[in-house]
Amino acid sequence: MAMMIPYGQRITPDTRETRSRGLMRPRPLGRVVRVVLASLLALWFALPLVPLLVWSVANRWSFPAVLPTEWGLDGLMTALEQGAAPAFGRSIVLALAVAAIATPLGALAARALTLGRVPAPRLVSGILLAPLALPAFVAVMGLTIVLLRARVPAALAVLLLLVAAALPYTVYTMRVAYAAHDLAFEEEARTLGASRWHVLWRVHLPLVAPGLARAAFLAFLVGWSDYVVTVLVGGGTLVTLPLLVGSYAAGVGNDAIVAVLSLSAIIPPLLLLLALGRFGRRYPAARFAGPTPSRSPKGSP
């Protein structure tokens, strides 16, 4: 079995292990504090999921009982009857569309900003980041009127606004990616006979792919989790998963349905996050199945 050395873990004579560096050597007390903090953080993240998981398979769970008094899948059935599946599908499509538009736009803006091809770069960066600072309500209330007057279809209007909301994340992520990107790779490819298109496809995109994946993930989340814009601009015509969760959570006695819907809302981002961890590395390690390279220290032929 060939073990690949992931990108960035080049073994060089000056070993990068923290253990060998005096200043970074872990102290016993520090380790205890670190473990306790990490455990608390994990608990804080995981705890809310426990009642959700239990509720999703409980038909009845009256107050004093520690565990549900009646187990069952009524919650799931009701959710499906109430159109959870199409809402799930609409959410997916909306989130993917937001990611598909906001990621390349963010990448283009970030590249132009990084290469210094933009006049008044600070102002432009500020405008691109503005949606983060502006309360969503403020922007949406004004824009709803404009978009409705312009007779933009509700679904399209939602998409446009969500793309704007996702842009700060994609621009910021891609700026980080381009700051680490070396244009000399592209120049080298050009002298080797690669056209602009080939450079984009075979050099530029593969090199920034991890950044693109991260940016797309964030943009997906913006589209996936939006409530305010979908309610106000969509006006109820576009029923997405968050809308369904919202409406059931507002009622009483729907805990099982809300639990099922909430859990299903966690699944796509979780899967994407796992995929990101697996494939979003700068170096696609799994592609090279070959003999384990003999490690000679840098400097020897």
Binding site: T191, L192, A194, P293, P297, P301
Partner: protein
């Protein structure tokens, strides 16, 4: 695969610069020849190379490949391939796919491109390294792969931008041997930028010496050392001996006496500085008369600096007429190198023998 290249008054002025980075540089390179563009940092040598590659657009002048102007031709259509100081191997491709890159983008089927790349990996003595990720290579191996990748593009002109500067001396001489072997096998036209005159001397047939964006001299390595056209060239090539004087009837007259021009050489009349390589000077202990073709100068060893297996001597020229031991600061000095085992100590009298054929006179 090799073409001729000529530059005609190439000039590059960057937007915010007051003076040109490259100022009317002209030279030509014959097919299969290796030209080194030599110069200190900031001399514009990399700009010349980037202009040839099409990565920088010249402000004026022409670049001709096989007689055809390449102005307006995109870098990928010029048939050049460049190797930079950093290897710039594409991290998302294996070693083999890096070498196969040019063939792949040219539209060759993957299988053929890889078969072709295998040959070039063998050429740079890295057979069997193909499936490895590029992160599993040492510095020298990376630069070999970069060289193979450039050669696999079948460039009409191979451009090397200080490709071996980041390697340690031993590896660098390995790479020089490799480059010589490659030149013997595929005879590409090579233009190499370097700041290291020893490297230029080892690798190149001819050298274009640049300073401040201007071409000082374009000549063979040997002539650049022995027949510099100016004091600047002599100094940039590491010349240490400068004897100011006057040329009268083809004879240079100075504090070291009369030095006639070598046969077939003509020196401009009037004030001129005699330059000669310190490596050419022989030091004889005690007084000696000059053999045929040499000029003898009486000297006193003024300084001795160890240089590993050799020692560098500063030789103060004694006053020829008074025959008094010199030591005054303004008496002219010669520099010479002797084996470290020679017992020439400070204050010892000796004779410096200067071969006439090694001397040349440049304007002061």
């Amino acid at each position: 695969m090799s073409a001729s290249l000529s530059l005609d008054a190439l000039t590059k002025v960057f937007d915010d610069a007051s003076r040109p980075a490259v100022d009317a540089v002209s030279f030509s390179v014959a097919p299969g020849e290796c030209l080194a563009i030599l110069g200190p940092s900031g001399s514009g040598k990399s700009t010349v190379l980037r202009s040839i590659a099409g990565l920088d657009v010249p402000s004026a002048g022409r670049i001709l490949v096989d007689g055809a102007d390449v102005a307006g031709l995109a870098p990928e259509r010029r048939g050049m391939a460049m190797v930079f100081q950093r290897p710039l191997l594409f991290p998302h491709l294996s070693v083999l796919d890096n070498v196969a890159f040019a063939a792949t983008v040219a539209g060759q089927p993957k299988r053929e491109a890889r078969a072709d790349a295998t040959q070039f990996l063998e050429l740079v003595q890295l057979a069997g390294f193909g499936p490895r990720p590029v992160t599993a290579l040492s510095g020298g191996q990376e630069q070999r792969v970069a060289l193979a990748r450039a050669l696999a593009a079948r460039p009409r002109v191979l451009l090397l931008d200080e490709p071996f500067s980041a390697l340690d001396p031993e590896l660098r001489s390995d790479m020089h041997e490799l480059l010589a072997a490659i030149r013997a096998q595929v005879a590409p036209t090579v233009v190499m930028v370097t700041h290291d005159r020893d490297e230029a001397a080892i690798v190149a047939d001819r050298v274009a010496l640049l300073k401040g964006g201007r071409l000082l001299q374009h000549d063979t390595v040997e002539r650049l050392y022995t027949r510099p056209v100016s004091l600047d060239v002599a100094r940039l090539m590491g010349g240490r001996i400068e004897v100011p004087g006057t040329v009268r009837d083809g004879i240079h007259v100075s504090a070291i006496g009369e030095v006639p021009a070598a046969d077939g050489e003509t020196w401009a009349e009037g004030a001129g500085v005699l330059v000669v390589r310190h490596e050419a000077i022989q030091v004889v202990a005690a007084r000696a008369s000059a053999p045929e073709g040499f000029v003898a100068v009486d000297v006193v060893v003024a300084e001795r600096t160890p240089r590993g297996p050799r020692a560098e001597l500063a030789l103060a020229v004694t006053d020829q007429a008074a025959d008094a031991p010199a030591g005054s600061v303004d008496s002219p000095r010669l520099t010479a190198e002797v084996p470290a085992s020679r017992p020439l100590a400070i204050g010892e009298r000796a004779t410096a023998l200067i071969p006439r054929s090694a001397c040349t006179v440049v304007a002061g």
